[in-house]
Subunit: 414 residues, 2 copies
């Protein structure tokens, strides 16, 4: 099927999906979950091909790990779909309702976005996950996975489509672009006529490519150059565990801390504690002039370090004279993702909350909490780092739009 | 000043504007309104140059009219700014608040978008209007007006900037790109580092150019191929005035009706009435096979007619066998703006409201009501025809984003 025909069929499917009842959607999701478990031998044999190709192409072990599926991962995939079925349906919610002096009754009603395109990299579980979230929120979805996982993605998509068909729902509610040629992906990013929004999920490079080449509206997700600022009024016993957690609990994620900012008034007491904690956790420190001598083994931080999302056992350190200087430093170098202040001073806390330009701003907590599940949304399609449409963790509601439904009795405009 | 420096200065200004109190913003807006009236001789002499250039370049009379300012229009411009000052401030609103089982207290707070770029055509009053709306919603704004109105736009922007300065507010809260070269506009559309959103205001061609060339998120506004569907259960006494109003009250606007759809069961009684009304209002009718013989002087509608926003005294007519066929026809040809059904049948009304894919869907009312003022928003920056971020009339709230402010007591993620 040509790309245009595939987009057209998704566009037709959206009118069907958006009118499904909550029950119809949930029944279909449960059927998909069962089918994934039942079809695991098909998925595993397709995945074996991808893994073999990966080895052949010299893919490094971390990537192979992310690509590889097993019984447990397929079960988790199905479980994820079941969890989405259990979530409340956002569609149809009356978000606002008012009457105008001329008698027009206006309702603002939550509706699906329409057709959502997801462009992602090698983890094949995203295929089932992205389908479940977009389908439950009443959308049709077009998936463009990485070429590394193409066999796995085809197997998973076919199982989902068959399960939809068995429920009497058009299988084109989910489509996979099977052609892994880059020119096809590029063309996909200009299918404005059929696709309402593109959500890239993956590396900073992938996201930049989509932003630069797409004429379809994009929701940017996922790059996080997150800071922890230890204020002069910080409780140092809280600061150290928060930094260790934010830096080391999972180094490869966007919510990991990449930089420490420290108020100079507490540098002499705090930095030796920090130095010890980083040493124990095997974290390399790149420090500015004001902090380097207090941190064992620290190397000099360059300008480039402050703008870097390491995704590694590395952290930069910056010394400041005030909370305002910390805020200014963050707003200059951050990616508007997650930032935290450690302080006992209410005034500094509020100033930081108000003035730091980021999706999620924390007082006395780890940046690792920026997550749809941790926020209680029950799901997450990604974390938006832009300000348009949605910011921060995106759950089902963030995959919707609204329309105004207006009832009159013959009103005309004067 | 180079484009990059101009964008940088707006980006710095955003951190100041977003932290102004409501009082500070309102005082500045009132000072701007006074300054516009006080500076009217400067504005008028600049405008005279633009109008003279327009005549010289053979600009047609309708455009000259839109371009020309006079005492009354400048007063109206100032009044518009005062009205925005009187509107409630959207910034700081707590949109949601909840506590997680781990004790984290999460607040979703309304914040400005940041830096907004407005690209518009010849009407110079947009300069003051766009400044007032973006400033009141806490944003810095970069304006790129049409070259036809460049002298007027410079005069108006300078008056606004001087008034801001006199209130102790950085004048870079508003900037005008004075270089009218197309390459500069094109470069502006890729200034993602500094600009959070672009809003084009003007013709369908302008909007398409921005959508196709911008890497910055765009809010599409304003093309309206609007339909009126007269159902078999319509009250024909309501239908005729609604059609006349929607088609002829202002032919050049996006809320004007461009197409009539009629149920075949009432075609014989309704179309003669419609024919008479269109004749009286000098509206040309382009009709399909099922309706042409019943409409005096109607010519054949082509496929192209159904997709056309005439913005003229022309209307197309399509006959259908059911409300579903009407819905399907609309979803195929419309621009997702405003659509209306005339019916006394509740089931058909609800079906139309639910299934027509448009920002505003009406029952028994004119499509002309899609407007920020008519909706009670007190202002309007444009009407969004996309589904991302905002849909339909956009007031002050639609010029905002949100952030999550999270307070903890040392929480780390397990």
């Amino acid at each position: 099927m040509s790309l245009t025909d595939l987009c057209k069929s998704a566009c037709e499917a959206k009118y069907i999906v958006q009118n499904l009842s909550t029950d119809e959607k949930n029944r279909a999701l449960l059927a998909v979950a069962d089918a994934l478990v039942d079809g695991k031998s098909k998925i595993l044999s397709a995945n074996e091909k991808d893994v073999a190709n990966g080895h052949e192409n010299g893919m490094h072990q971390g990537m192979i790990d992310r690509l590889t599926l097993d019984d447990k991962r397929i079960k988790a995939m199905a479980e994820g779909v079941r969890e989405v079925a259990a979530l409340p349906d956002p569609i149809g919610e009356v978000m606002d309702e008012f009457e105008r002096p001329n008698g027009l009754k206006i309702r603002k009603v939550r509706v699906p976005l329409g057709v959502i395109g997801i462009i992602y990299e090698s983890r094949p579980n995203v295929t089932a996950d992205a389908f479940a979230l977009t389908f439950k929120s009443g959308n049709a979805v077009i998936l463009k996975g990485g070429s590394d996982a193409i066999n796995s993605n085809i197997a998973i998509t076919n199982i989902i489509r068959d399960a939809l068909k068995s429920c009497g729902i058009c299988e084109t509610a989910v489509s996979l672009i099977e052609d892994t040629d880059r020119s096809v992906t590029k063309k996909f990013m200009t299918m404005n006529e059929y696709v309402d929004v593109l959500i890239p999920r993956g590396s900073a490079g992938l996201i930049r490519t989509v932003v630069e080449n797409s004429t379809i509206p994009v929701i940017e997700t996922g790059t996080g150059n997150c800071h922890i600022y230890v204020d002069k009024d910080a409780d140092l016993d809280k600061a150290i565990p928060i930094i260790i957690n934010a830096k080391t609990q999972r180094i490869g994620v966007c919510t990991a801390a990449e930089s420490l900012i420290v108020h100079e008034d507490i540098r002499d007491t705090f930095l030796p504690l920090f130095s010890k904690a980083m040493k124990e956790n095997k974290v390399e420190v790149r420090a500015d002039e004001g902090s380097r001598s207090l941190i064992e083994g620290a190397v000099s931080a360059t300008e480039e370090d402050f703008g870097k999302e390491y995704l590694d056992y590395i952290i930069s350190v910056k010394t400041v004279k005030s909370v305002d200087e910390a805020i200014e430093h963050i707003n200059r170098y951050n990616t508007h993702h997650s930032e935290s202040i450690i302080t006992g001073n209410e005034e500094s806390a509020q100033r930081f909350l108000d003035r730091v330009d980021a999706a999620c701003v924390y007082v006395n907590a780890s940046t690792r909490f920026t997550d749809g599940f941790e926020f209680g949304f029950g799901a997450e399609i990604g974390i938006s780092t832009q300000k348009l449409h949605a910011r921060g963790p995106m759950g089902l509601k963030e995959l919707t739009s609204y329309k105004y439904q207006i009832r009159g009795e013959g009103q005309i405009r004067g």
